[in-house]
Symmetry: C2
Subunit: 244 residues, 2 copies
Amino acid sequence: MENALVRKLEGYISLSPDDKRQLNAIIRNPRHVPAHTDLATEGDKPTSVHLVMEGFACRYKFTAEGNRQIMAYLLPGDFCDMHVVVLKQMDHSIATISPCTVVDIPRDHILALLQKPTLSLALWCAALVDAAVLREWLVNVGQRRAGQRLAHVLCELLLRLRIVGLADNSYDLPLSQKDLADTIGVSNVHLNRVLQDLRREDLITWKAEHLVIKDIDRLMEYSGFNPNYLHIGRQGANPDARTD
Amino acid sequence: MENALVRKLEGYISLSPDDKRQLNAIIRNPRHVPAHTDLATEGDKPTSVHLVMEGFACRYKFTAEGNRQIMAYLLPGDFCDMHVVVLKQMDHSIATISPCTVVDIPRDHILALLQKPTLSLALWCAALVDAAVLREWLVNVGQRRAGQRLAHVLCELLLRLRIVGLADNSYDLPLSQKDLADTIGVSNVHLNRVLQDLRREDLITWKAEHLVIKDIDRLMEYSGFNPNYLHIGRQGANPDARTD
DNA sequence: CGAGCCCTTGAAACTCGTCAATGATCGTGG
DNA sequence: CCACGATCATTGACGAGTTTCAAGGGCTCG
């Protein structure tokens, strides 16, 4: 199976063998990072672009009052911070959640990729889909109540993990309840309560970091989930679809 | 004074006369659009990229329950939907709020801009700052209470309008209270109440679509506003700074 | 075995939403 | 020019959703 990055980008746009070769050249020298470790910290002058190849990472930020908001989950194949290419300072932090393997890509390598029209478009796709996900999170937190929000996040993770071949009807979810609470903007106590609602409704089970979605249709119905914002292409619906 | 687009992009990266010429060539044939008119609707197959030159527009989406979330304000110089370049379907809608002048840019013109390295980087900057704003909105809605959220939005609009020369310590705000409520994820009734709190605290006045920020320092303090996410460059702090 | 962390539960307080009614503003047509 | 309806802003009362505080339980790891 191809790596998560190529697999994801090919969901958006067809890549030539040469394009793939160039992508694969970039992801040499992955390094292992323990869980709960910052890859970049707010205020840093960024150096290289980080790319998650294995594991779970997140973007987050603390408010002045010391509350944390998680703004994105970074799954295998996701670029953490294209900002590096053009912006002078990190406006948020990035941290691993589970142990990860990460590739550090120097700014110049990214600029080289952007020279090639097809790869440039592929990176635009990835960035625009990231923005679409962020918009949906805003809708989620702004307009839905806690139970729906949680269900919505779980639906999204299922579909996104399927794209990179890491889920069928269940997946490994190495988050704490506090992480999820900081994702959907509720207290950890309340998160615990709505989580139990989902279990009581027999929509999910979750133990030992493994989440099982017992009825994806009902969970999507429950949360008002519409997958169009993920812009899933050829491979999305079927975890085993071939992409070339 | 240069147009809002060039002015904004020059805040990120220095443009050659030739770059500016190419940008100016693109924004010929602006058209006038009445207030409260969709420029693009969720589900559409997008055609051209829209660029706001004058007026106030927004991104929004309705949930399955019929609640609206405004996900961005589009001010002069802002691209509405780079999605067009690569994505096949609008995952949200775009509408004017006040009467606007808008430029429609065909997909191919954008692709031509992306060929030029400097302009490509400038567009990446604009897209990455848009994403940064979106992240801050998520923090805002997820972690702050209603009064702070409202104050935060008003601070952001002040700074963003200054970038394009449309604000000093006050600006025209053609929004209804319902629009603001749908922005920060509260009911219109509650928005009205926290708005009155800001007035009572003597932080703002707002009538006849004109907002006056009476004490920006206290308003920023009140809302926990930190402008770093706007990545304002050379011209940001001073509305009259020269950029070349 | 104890320390620490996370999850769970209950009770009280608070923020915010809903419902309903009133008032203000504005454009339109008589 | 005024009356009318429509839209938006305002206010009060009540209820729902959520937070906070506090305490206890379960698990892992040294």
